[in-house]
């Protein structure tokens, strides 16, 4: 039966995606950027919308929520998956509301008056059937995909507004967004970049070679020298893994030290992060440890007697951050909560 085939094909794809996520997390598979993950998640969700069996918006949301929970469970630290799921849920809600004819603003604002007068019946159940809902949702997801494809370019276009000539810019580790940002600015301006290598995986080396190929003056420094050279740095530009709901960051380890050093020297800290990295999570306690990295650093008989820690992420509080540059422009960290309320519906914060 064609329906069953489609279903099995769909579940196969979901399984493949899940295993890919798990493998990427453990580092065995090829390392993927978050943009790729976001795009793949969104296309998978579009496929689910197109091929799964559902009759009304509520069903669809259930299906997507279920798949979303499975996907985020596969790799909890890869938050873009969950973010995209929430975006799609919000899209479904919007399309449903539009089909029903009610205005969007009324639904969005949870004013005190509305809460009191409606008496808790703002819950719609989403049970009404609309014929064009599927097409509308798929079209909206396509728009989301286009937006995702253009994020890096949108961010790089703002580069010249933030980098002047003969600046010394510091960055840490490897971020594709920051790389594109700096390369775009280098087309018109001359500046110097200092890259902290970010042990033990030393992704900074890749970043440095890639930047120097574009004729940008690059210097690689070990992590220990961050504070020593900070006094000559004009700006710190970093990427991040996740932007948290309070405006803080979950970024690669060593970023907190970098942020503290920048604060001490009153150097602006600029974070280049596309909007799909914005996550409604608040818990900075989630931490991932990688232990296998130490087998090449310590001899065996000592390693057996000590505890070795190698965290992957750092939490950076919002007070240390000066500016967020995203595909929709520049924002202060105090504005992040507002952007988040536009992207996700509060009920979707917990999948």
């Amino acid at each position: 039966m064609p329906g069953a085939d489609k279903e099995t094909e769909l579940s196969e794809r979901i399984e493949a995606f899940l295993s890919e996520l798990k493998r990427c997390g453990s580092g065995a598979g090829s390392l993927r950027g978050s943009a790729e993950t976001a795009r793949e998640t969104t296309s998978l969700l579009r496929r689910i919308t197109a091929q799964a069996r559902w009759s009304n918006a509520g069903d669809l949301m259930e299906i997507i929520r279920k798949e979303g929970r499975r996907m985020t469970a596969g790799q909890p630290s890869e938050t873009t998956v969950g973010n995209m799921v929430r975006r799609v849920l919000k899209i479904i809600r919007e399309e449903y509301a539009r089909s029903r004819g009610s205005t969007e603003e009324a639904d969005q604002q949870e004013s005190l008056h509305k809460l009191l007068t409606s008496g808790g019946s703002s819950e719609d159940n989403f049970r009404q059937h609309f014929t064009h809902l599927k097409a509308n949702v798929i079209e909206a997801i396509n728009e989301l995909l286009t937006e995702l494809e253009g994020t890096t370019d949108n961010i790089s276009m703002q580069a010249l507004e933030h980098i002047h000539s003969n600046e010394v810019i510091m960055t840490i580790g490897r971020s594709r967004t920051v790389e594109a940002f700096l390369k775009d600015a280098a087309r018109k301006r001359k500046f110097h970049v200092i890259v902290a290598e970010c042990a033990p995986f030393c992704q900074g080396h890749e970043m440095a070679t890639s930047l120097s190929k574009e004729d940008i003056e690059t210097t690689v420094i070990p992590d220990a020298a961050i504070f020593a050279v900070m006094s000559r740095v004009n700006k710190v530009i970093i990427g991040t893994q996740t932007v948290l709901a309070n405006g803080g960051l979950r970024a690669v380890n060593g970023t907190h030290t970098l942020a503290l050093a920048a604060k001490h020297h009153s150097t602006p800290l600029i974070v280049c992060a596309p909007m799909f990295k914005l996550s409604p999570q608040w818990d900075s306690a989630l931490q991932e440890l990688v232990l296998r990295s130490f087998c090449f650093l310590l001899p065996g008989e000592i390693l057996s007697k000590v505890n070795a820690h190698c965290p992957v992420f750092d939490y950076v509080p919002p007070e240390l951050i000066t500016l967020f540059i995203s595909n929709i422009g520049g924002n202060a960290p105090s504005y992040i909560y507002r952007l988040m309320s536009e992207l996700y519906h509060p009920e979707d914060h917990e999948l």
Binding site: H192, E197, C198, A199, P200, F201, C202, H205, E206, A208, T209, S212, K213, D215, I216, E217, T218, T219, V220, I221, P222, D223, A224, A225, I226, F227, A228, V229, S231, R232, N253, G254, H256, T257, L260, A261, H264, Q287, F294, L297, L298, I302, K305, V306, N307, A308, H309, C310, P311, D314, Y315
Partner: protein, 533 residues
């Protein structure tokens, strides 16, 4: 009545008269003074000879010595900038000084002479130390007066100045010490510093057997340049032991005095060692001490006796300043360690390791977190020593600092040198640890012996530092090393700093053998030490 100097630059008649008069006076006050006068005479002869060849250096030296010999600050003539006409003001002030002398009483003259010799002695040591061509770079204020001193930049921070490089090359050639060439592309911020490669040690260019440089010095230099001996205390102790060997093998040539000749012999050795690796502050202080001891040997002392005395001096220096000092510091530091503490240490500091081992022996219950950093990874050595003792340890890299700090109750750091403005010069990364510890309100204690206190001042880690081999940063991960061909890429530079300076507001306490002091009391200790000496 200033007569011109005759063609071969001898002193004029007036000068000689003054000198003879002074020598006559001096003879009444003891033999040592005569020796000093003779030395000065000899030196001045050399100066005038050099005047013919090299214009810039000697007149300034003259100015220095003149300043030393005329201590009254009210002589502006001596402080005028050195010109080719320098000999004229020199002679003018000397004759003026001669005219003044009869007016002063004998006691004043004696005090004046003492002060003059003190500062001359230090200026002479300063000249020989660290292989500089010009006069003292580490001037000591005489106890009674604070003279305005003209500091000479040490050579190793003047790499971007071609004139200074040429001077150095000439001097090394004269001493028959090989000149080491820089390696690789230097980051523009640090073009004033040397950057050597470990693969090309300076010993490659020395003939074997070495005629000018003692073989144990060659061995020591090689050990320094390859990083076999690393760490402030280890380097100083190795240096002192090697000097003992040198003194043992030394024999005074005929017609020479041990006290003068030995110091001259040490000069090329020190140049060679600083070519292998720039001298540390502790080594500088040790060398100053040795030179002072050597020049204090009375001339009637027999050679064997003198050598024995010097070796005993060196032994007592090591014992007092390093071994006993670390015992004293451990005693103070153990008071600061309580049961249940989680102590964070960085890299491998022999003193901090000693403190922790002693505290463990005294049955304190604590655990240690060792923070390490690339590319040296010295923390592994500290980890090995602590684990061998049986202390519970945790190991992290410096990028995990924010992760591990909430657990920590105290931070113990070692120091390479303590500067006169209260800044702590230590391994690169120390200032970072102090910064983050401050942000988490964890107390930071620095442990440092007093012989590492240094009169330099510095506010950032750029002006005076050491650049290590840049190839150390290259690493292979997942079978790929991205930086392997960094030399071929034009715009890529690797920076491997060795030291950095920590501002005093990050440091809560400095534990020294004199007690527990705040960072800002370092100049007080230096002054007390100077008065003692």
């Amino acid at each position: 009545n200033i007569t011109d100097s005759d063609p071969d630059g001898r002193l004029t008649v007036t000068d000689k008269d003054v000198k003879l008069q002074e020598i006559a006076l001096a003879k009444n006050e003891g033999k040592e003074l005569t020796k000093e006068e003779k030395q000065r005479l000899r030196k001045e002869k050399k100066q005038h000879k050099k005047n013919k060849k090299d214009d810039k250096g000697p007149p300034e030296k003259e100015k220095e010595k003149e300043k030393a010999s005329v201590p009254a600050p009210s002589k502006p003539a001596t402080q005028s900038p050195a010109h080719k006409a320098a000999p004229a003001p020199v002679h003018a002030s000397e004759s003026a000084a001669a005219a003044e002398k009869p007016a002063k009483s004998k006691a004043e003259l004696r005090a004046e002479r003492r002060a003059r010799q003190d500062s001359e002695r230090t200026s002479k040591h300063g000249k020989k130390e660290g292989g500089q061509q010009s006069a003292s770079s580490k001037p000591k204020a005489t106890p009674n007066e604070l003279q305005p001193v003209v500091k000479r930049l040490p050579e190793h921070v003047q790499v971007d100045d071609p004139a200074a490089l040429k001077k150095l090359a000439k001097k090394l050639e004269r001493q028959q010490v090989p000149l080491r060439s820089d390696y690789g592309y230097k980051v523009s911020l640090f073009s004033h510093l040397h950057q050597y490669s470990r693969k090309s040690p300076p010993t490659l260019q020395i003939s074997i057997p070495a005629t000018v440089i003692h073989p144990s010095i060659v061995r020591l230099g090689l050990q320094y340049s390859q990083g076999i001996i690393a760490g402030s205390n280890a380097r100083s102790v190795a240096l002192l032991h090697t000097f003992k060997q040198v003194i043992q093998d030394y024999s005074t040539p005929p017609n020479e005095e041990l006290s003068r000749d030995l110091v001259n012999k040490l000069s090329p050795y020190i140049s060679f060692l600083s070519q292998c690796r720039p001298l540390s502050a502790s080594m500088g202080n040790a060398i100053k001490y040795i030179k002072k001891e050597i020049s204090n040997i009375p001339s009637q002392c027999k050679e064997e006796e003198a050598k024995g005395k010097l070796q005993a001096c060196i032994d007592s220096y090591i014992n007092e300043k390093i071994i006993l000092a670390s015992e004293a510091i451990s005693k103070y530091a153990i008071e600061k360690i309580s049961d249940g503490d989680v102590i964070l240490v960085y890299g491998c500091s022999s003193l901090v390791n000693h403190i922790l081992c002693k505290a463990f022996e005294k049955q304190r219950k604590f655990r240690v977190i060792v923070v390490d950093s690339r590319p040296r990874l010295e923390g592994r050595e500290a980890l090995r020593r602590l684990v061998k003792k049986g202390i519970r340890c945790t190991y992290v890299l410096i990028s995990a600092l924010s992760y591990i700090l909430p657990e920590v109750s105290k931070v113990f750091l070692g120091a390479h040198a303590l500067l006169a403005n209260g800044y702590v010069m230590s391994r690169v990364g120390t200032s970072q640890i102090a910064l983050v510890a401050k942000a988490y309100n964890v107390p930071v204690l620095v442990c440092c012996e007093t012989y590492k206190f240094c009169e330099r001042v510095q506010t950032d880690s750029f002006v005076s530092n050491e650049l290590d081999d840049p190839d150390d940063l290259i690493v292979t991960r997942n079978g790929k090393s991205h930086l392997e061909n960094w030399q071929t890429v034009k715009s890529l530079g690797l920076l491997n700093l060795v030291y950095d300076v920590t501002p005093p507001d990050f440091v809560d306490l400095v534990i020294t053998d004199l007690g527990m002091i705040p960072c800002t009391s370092v100049p007080v200790v230096l002054r007390v030490k100077n008065v003692d000496q």
